[in-house]
């Protein structure tokens, strides 16, 4: 099982790899793969069985649990923290805060 877990970690990282450009970590550095597989067992037992039997291809993984990989990744604390950092760096449209008060007053 441990071996299979390692193999899948590598495979998941091919789907969501490290990105130096955007400052984001790969899947296995952001999500506990062991826990993810355990949750999958409860959520999608049929897919879990298939995964557990043998190491399956990247394409099959995407078909079987592609959406779950995305969901687990974007629920990870690390990823959410990095998204906040991205927001601070890239958000410049602050003029609207003053405009908004005027807009509401006009409406009333």
């Amino acid at each position: 099982m441990k071996n299979l877990e390692n193999e899948y970690s590598k495979l998941f990282d091919e789907l969501i790899p490290d990105s130096k450009e955007y400052g984001f970590s790969s899947f296995s550095k952001s999500v506990n793969v062991k826990l993810f597989l355990k949750d999958l067992r409860r959520i999608k037992p049929k897919s879990y069985k298939l995964i557990l039997k043998n190491l399956i291809s990247k394409r099959e993984i995407i078909n079987l649990i592609g959406y779950e990989i995305l969901e687990a990744y974007f629920l990870s604390k690390n990823v959410l923290k990095n998204l906040k950092r991205y927001e601070k760096k890239n958000f410049f449209e602050k003029k609207f805060i003053r405009d908004e008060i005027i807009l509401f007053k006009k409406k009333q």
Binding site: E14, L15, I16, P17, S19, E21, Y22, F24, V31, L35, F36, D39, R42, I43, I62, G66, Y67, E68, I69, L70, E71, A72, Y73, F74, L75, K77, V79, L83, Y86, E87, N90, F91, F92, E93, K94, F96, D99, E100, L103, F104, K107, Q108
Partner: protein, 517 residues
């Protein structure tokens, strides 16, 4: 005089049930509520949304995928729209976006045909809308000309943010109506629930009702309503949390199980006097299903606008095409502007649309849309048609049949969706969107389930009267969205609450002597 376990039994634990339970509990009555689900907290509280992967999956909007113990299978193979709901104390409000506009006065005035119309007026519900906005907690801006009266009990409106601000300006350029949403979001520091908290029955009505000694039976599925020979409801048969069948009696029974659950229980409660289902001499139980067909337009903007910032469904909306008559179709639609979903949902949507691919370009793809998209939902008023219905299907493990939804989108709705998509696309272009995607009807949007036990003056074509009382069973009341005669083009929760208040007031005023015995 037989002895009863309770004065009132309420079947269901959603918004309608919570209002009735709270209102009746102020009169010192012995009240019990039977809910098939468990206690759950609202998962869409946007400032505190930290869910584990497992908990997130547990909150799926589709009961057929969620498969919790409290869920029953909904066969939607013959429906253009799939049902979205949640079974728990608080009902679907556990997952709702908390958009809480009132129905428009014209919704109650318009006749479906010569014989079918609401037997009450907007003015009859006004004081109950006011009361609900105060207790549940609604934010917004007073002075909207969509309504004849000034809506007073509002917290300050939810902040728009840069993205929504852009759309508001576009509405102004087109000279179209827009108004900050009536939102179930706490925006006042005086409210102890905390800024940003979603207003829901579980943090408003239910705690008050429980304090007033309403007894709640969770994980308890009602199978049948029992009647005597005089056609009076005497109690319920239910499956308790240990899966044993039990009985409880009451002087009054209130059904509050929603547009699916209510007809399910009525149809399953057939007896010698009502072979086609309880309170169904009209044959209208389960019929006239209305679901608010939805069109969708998403605009992608060139700059990073933090468009996900704030509650997704509560920003601004426009009644421009809801009030105006149109030569191409009957009724109208609301344009509701939606913020970008949380990345966990947005990434899946984009993957489905082939806009997000795994591999080396994953982040490049993701940041090409993250914080840059805004959507417009076109919520169409649905017409009641007898061919659209809820029927019983196979018996499931809980001894009560599952349901099948038969629903075909009408030509009128199709025309309305096309019209709405065209106008929302125009709006996005004026706002400066570079890429625009549109589609409709959206399949998994059957949140607003209405009309399956409709209200009316004539017992031949309706199930309940203007007081929510079943024409056929004098001590059986219905307080949920199944009693809606028409669907309007706005979200139904405020109207459900107002009706539940009105009906429970009627029960208090007219059945006092019965409760005293």
């Amino acid at each position: 005089m037989p002895k009863y376990d309770f004065d009132v039994i309420i079947i269901g634990g959603g918004v309608a049930a919570s209002v009735a339970a709270y209102n009746l509990s102020k009169s010192n009555l012995k009240i019990a509520c039977f809910e098939q689900g468990n206690y759950e907290k609202n998962s869409s509280n946007y400032k505190k949304k930290k869910l584990s992967f497992f908990d997130y999956k547990k909150m799926n909007i589709n009961p057929n995928l969620r498969k919790l113990k409290s869920d029953y299978l909904i066969d939607d193979t013959e429906s253009d729209i799939s049902i979205a709901n949640f079974n728990a104390l608080g009902g679907s409000s556990v997952l709702y976006s908390a958009h809480l506009p009132r129905f428009l006065p014209k919704d109650f005035k318009q006749k479906i045909n010569k014989k079918i119309y609401w037997p009450l007026k907007y003015e009859d519900l006004k004081k109950y809308y006011d009361l609900n906005e105060k207790i549940l907690g609604v934010s917004g801006l007073s002075g909207d000309k969509t309504y004849p009266d000034k809506i007073e009990n509002l917290m300050p409106p939810v902040k728009l943010g840069a993205a929504i601000h852009k759309i508001a300006k576009a509405f102004d350029k087109l000279n179209w109506h827009w108004w900050p949403s009536y939102s179930g979001v706490v925006t006042s520091k005086k409210d102890k629930r905390g800024l940003g908290t979603i207003s829901e029955p579980n943090n408003s009505y239910w705690p008050k009702a429980i304090k007033n000694k309403v007894k709640i039976f969770i994980n308890s599925t009602v199978i049948k309503i029992i009647c005597n020979k005089k056609n009076e409801a005497t109690g319920i048969r239910y499956l308790n949390s240990k899966k044993k069948i039990q009985k409880r009696s009451a002087k009054i029974i209130i059904l509050a199980s929603g547009g699916l659950g209510t007809p399910r229980i009525l149809l399953n409660s057939k007896n010698i006097n009502f072979p086609n289902g309880l309170a169904n001499s009209s044959g209208m139980v389960g019929k006239n299903l209305m679901l608010h067909p939805l069109g969708w337009v998403e605009g992608k903007f060139p700059n990073f606008l933090k468009s996900y910032d704030g509650p997704q469904g509560c920003s601004i909306s426009s009644s421009q095409f809801l009030k105006k008559k149109n030569k191409d179709f009957k009724k109208g639609y609301l344009i509701q502007i939606l913020r970008e979903p949380h990345p966990v949902e947005q990434s899946v949507i984009k993957k489905k649309l082939n806009k997000l691919n795994f591999g080396n370009n994953f982040f490049k793809n993701f940041f090409s849309f993250y914080g840059k998209t805004i959507s417009a939902a076109i919520i169409c008023e649905d017409l009641p048609e007898t061919k659209n219905m809820v029927v019983l299907s196979k018996i499931n493990r809980t001894k009560i049949p599952n349901v099948k939804v038969i629903y075909k989108l009408s030509k009128n709705s199709k025309k309305m969706i096309s019209h709405g998509i065209k106008n929302a696309t125009k709006l996005m272009k004026v706002a400066g969107a570079r890429e625009i995607v549109s589609f409709g009807p959206v399949k998994h949007t059957g949140w607003h389930i209405m009309g399956t036990a409709r209200m009316g003056s004539n017992k031949k074509n309706s199930v309940v009267d203007k007081n929510g009382k079943c024409h056929d069973v004098k001590n059986l009341f219905i307080v949920d969205s199944s009693i809606f005669t028409s669907s309007s083009g706005v979200n139904p929760v405020s109207t459900i609450c107002a009706l539940s208040f009105k009906i429970s007031d009627y029960i208090k005023e007219n059945y006092y002597e019965k409760f005293r015995k």
